[in-house]
């Protein structure tokens, strides 16, 4: 299995805990794909704005050590039971401080994108966009009226 290329091992460990806490569960969404999600999020990091990229390791550490100051639990995020970790992260989403909200909103968006767009999840949802691609390219090739559209231009 490949390792994250852009996250340090310690940042990756914290992100793993975030994924385990917030990833969808139940209702047909129990695919064991946390590691794929982590790798996909890792692939996205170079595309983030420079400031967000630079601030991410610090943000992850704030999340890791935040349960004591923000949640009154003398533990670290990665050591918390999953439900408690989720409640803790929900607290960040509901925070009055915009920066706290923004950090967890951003991570949540990346995790959900990677999770729900995973081929096994799309299959489970019955969303067949990839099949449609082949269908629609063929449909267009078969029905394209080149005279009407002025091809070749």
């Amino acid at each position: 299995m490949s390792a994250p290329r852009h996250l340090s091992p310690s940042s990756a460990a914290i992100l793993r805990a975030v994924i385990a806490a917030i990833r969808p569960r139940g209702h047909g969404f129990d695919q064991p794909i946390d590691e794929d999600v982590l790798l996909e999020v890792d692939r996205c990091l170079p595309c983030l704005p420079a400031l967000a990229r630079a601030a991410l390791p610090l943000g992850l550490r704030l999340l890791e050590w935040g349960p004591a100051p923000f949640f009154r639990r003398f533990t670290r995020l990665s050591a918390m039971p999953r439900d408690e970790a989720r409640a803790y992260l929900q607290g960040w989403l509901d925070s009055r401080l915009a920066l706290r909200r923004l950090l967890v909103h951003g991570l949540r968006a990346l995790v959900f994108l990677a999770f729900y767009q995973h081929p096994s999840v799309l299959r489970a949802m019955g969303v067949g966009w990839d099949r449609r691609l082949a269908e629609t390219v063929r449909l267009r090739a078969d029905t394209l009226d080149r005279e009407k559209y002025g091809y070749p231009r």
């Binding site: 806490a21 917030i22 990833r23 969808p24 569960r25 139940g26 209702h27 047909g28 969404f29 794929d36 996909e40 692939r43 996205c44 170079p46 595309c47 983030l48 704005p49 420079a50 400031l51 967000a52 989720r86 992260l89 929900q90 989403l93 923004l102 949540r108 968006a109 990346l110 959900f112 994108l113 990677a114 999770f115 729900y116 767009q117 995973h118 081929p119 999840v121 799309l122 949802m125 019955g126 969303v127 966009w129 990839d130 449609r132 691609l133 082949a134 629609t136 390219v137 063929r138 449909l139 267009r140 090739a141 029905t143 394209l144 009226d145 080149r146 559209y149 091809y151 070749p152 231009r153």
Partner: protein, 533 residues
């Protein structure tokens, strides 16, 4: 996580946009250190504005060099792998933020073809009332509906705006139109720049069927055929000046990881900025141009979305991106339309963590997201951030907040008329309603923008045209005031928001302006070149 799509080579070969030639185009990645380039005209950006400007100037015989920060991604490389496409085609993965009250999520393209590669393809002329206002109140000449007719006709020849074929419509398209009619509204069939759209709804991630006529498959290759050159992966940092006139630009090539690598400079007597309403203002500011209107008057067409949840199966992902719009309320500043994002994007915009998100997303096939676009009267600014990148600041006025509330209420009326059981709302303190009676709770809200979730894909006006240098950054034909040789050719030019999708307006304004430059400015430029020679 590539999603395999079985596409026989024989089928692909019958699609004219797959396999298009891009002569004279090279990536800055292979360029040499400290490269010094020269041309008659530099065009920065290859989106809706830049590609049109480059093409018209090249066809008039000028030596044009396009400098584009993004990479060249061809039609045949487009797929339904949403994240891979977002990494390739979007800036900031589509999650840029406009800071203010409330913060607004903003997406734009960063690739050859700019945002036209990822846009929905809606192709509407500027409403006549807007053009009349620009002429009458803003004092801009030759911009009324009659004067603009030839420019519209010219860009439409390339874009081919047409309505959806029946076999591209799914359940939700019909529900939308039927519900609107039942309410006494008049759904308009959408005009989209396409040649036989096949209804894949992948427009926001590059159109793999080649149907969408983005500048990537129209104006850019046409410009290249006319002799223009294109340098991709070339980020322009600032404009260079000599004796008060623009003489070129300076920038950095971008490496495979998207980070700046070697420097380059490019020289030309004519520099056209078409980097979009955020980055054109950023380049002007990094070039130390201090005129007050630069970066001001930013408008953003804020969008609020409502997700209707139905008992019946909708399969919202099946069928064209958007087939109808409601224009009945344009005079009140409200346009209603829809767009169905793939599950990952929709989930990111809906509430809930863990099981709560799963519970909602299990209903994806029963969801129908409908939105309203607001013609805003508020305005914001583009400023340079700590990293010297342009940052947008914007707060929604009480008046526009009230308009957004009314838009959301109307969208809920439509969704309930279509048979929705409940509507998920864009308000932090009112997450959903379950019956049409509750719509009055939306109308009764105080016009406070806090907690209102908004996004946008249209930004405009940050270097607007004006008759008076105190009111705009460029003259009525897009020449930057007080700097000879410097032009703007993108959405920054808009004197005001227009209330409909902007790409045709951008292309038509640039056509109008480029014709004027060719008539008045270019002969002087040619004479100067002859003298030098």
């Amino acid at each position: 996580m590539a999603i395999p799509a079985e596409l026989p080579a024989e089928v692909s070969a019958r699609i004219p946009e797959r396999g298009l030639a891009y002569p004279n185009c090279e990536s800055g990645r292979g360029a040499r250190r400290g490269a010094a380039l020269a041309a008659d005209v530099l065009v920065v950006g290859s989106g809706a504005g830049g590609a049109v400007a480059a093409c018209l100037l090249a066809e008039a015989g000028l030596d044009v060099l396009m400098l584009e920060e993004g990479s060249l991604h061809r039609t045949e490389s487009f797929s339904t792998d949403v994240l891979a496409m977002m990494r390739a085609l979007y800036r900031d993965l589509g999650g840029s933020m406009i800071l203010g009250r409330p913060p607004i999520v903003f997406a734009e393209g960063r690739c050859v073809g700019g945002s036209t590669v990822i846009n929905g393809g809606m192709y509407w002329r500027t409403p006549p009332r807007i053009l009349e206002r620009w002429e009458r109140e803003d004092g801009l000449p030759e911009i009324g509906p009659r004067a603009m007719e030839t420019a519209f006709a010219e860009v439409e020849r390339e874009a081919n705006p047409e309505t959806q074929a029946d076999d591209t419509l799914g359940v939700h398209h019909r529900l939308f139109a039927d519900a609107a009619r039942a309410l006494g509204w008049h759904p308009r069939e959408n005009l989209r720049n396409m040649r036989r759209c096949a209804g894949l709804n992948n427009c926001a991630f590059g159109c793999p069927t080649g149907a969408k006529q983005s500048t990537l498959v129209t104006w850019v290759p046409r410009a290249l055929r006319a002799g223009a050159r294109l340098s991709a992966d070339a980020y322009v940092d600032r404009v260079l000046f000599e004796g008060g006139r623009a003489v070129g630009v300076r920038g950095r090539y971008l490496g495979a990881d998207g980070r700046p690598s070697d420097r380059f400079s490019a020289h030309a007597p004519m520099v056209v900025l078409a980097a979009g309403a955020r980055h054109t203002a950023g380049i002007l500011k990094r070039s130390r141009l201090r005129a007050r209107p630069i970066g001001r008057h930013l408008t953003v067409h804020p969008n609020a979305k409502v997700v209707g949840i139905f008992d019946q199966t909708i399969r919202p992902w099946w069928g064209a991106h958007q087939a109808h719009q409601i224009h009945d309320f344009l005079d009140d500043g409200i346009l209603i339309g829809y767009a169905v994002p793939p599950p990952g994007l929709l989930a990111a915009a809906l509430p809930g963590l863990g099981e709560r998100s799963a519970e909602l997303m299990a209903l994806y096939d029963h969801m129908f997201p409908v939105g309203c676009l607001i013609e805003d009267t508020s305005s914001g600014r583009v400023v340079l951030g700590l990293d010297r990148q342009p940052q947008m600041l914007y707060s929604l006025s009480r008046r526009d907040t009230a308009t957004a509330h009314e838009g959301v209420a109307k969208v809920c009326e439509l969704l309930f008329a279509a048979g929705a059981r409940r509507c998920l709302l864009p308000f932090a303190d009112l997450a959903e309603i379950g019956s049409p009676d509750e719509i009055r709770r939306i109308r009764a809200r105080p016009p406070d923008p806090r907690g209102l979730e908004l996004m946008t894909v249209h930004i405009m006006g940050s270097a607007r045209m004006a008759a008076d240098p105190r009111r705009g950054a460029t003259d009525p034909f897009g020449r930057v005031f007080d700097v000879a040789g410097l032009y703007v050719a993108d959405a920054s030019l808009f004197p005001s928001p227009i209330g409909v999708n902007p790409q045709e307006t951008i292309m038509a304004l640039v056509t109008r302006n480029a014709r004027r430059w060719l008539e008045r400015d270019v002969p002087r430029l040619r004479a100067a070149r002859r003298d030098r020679a």
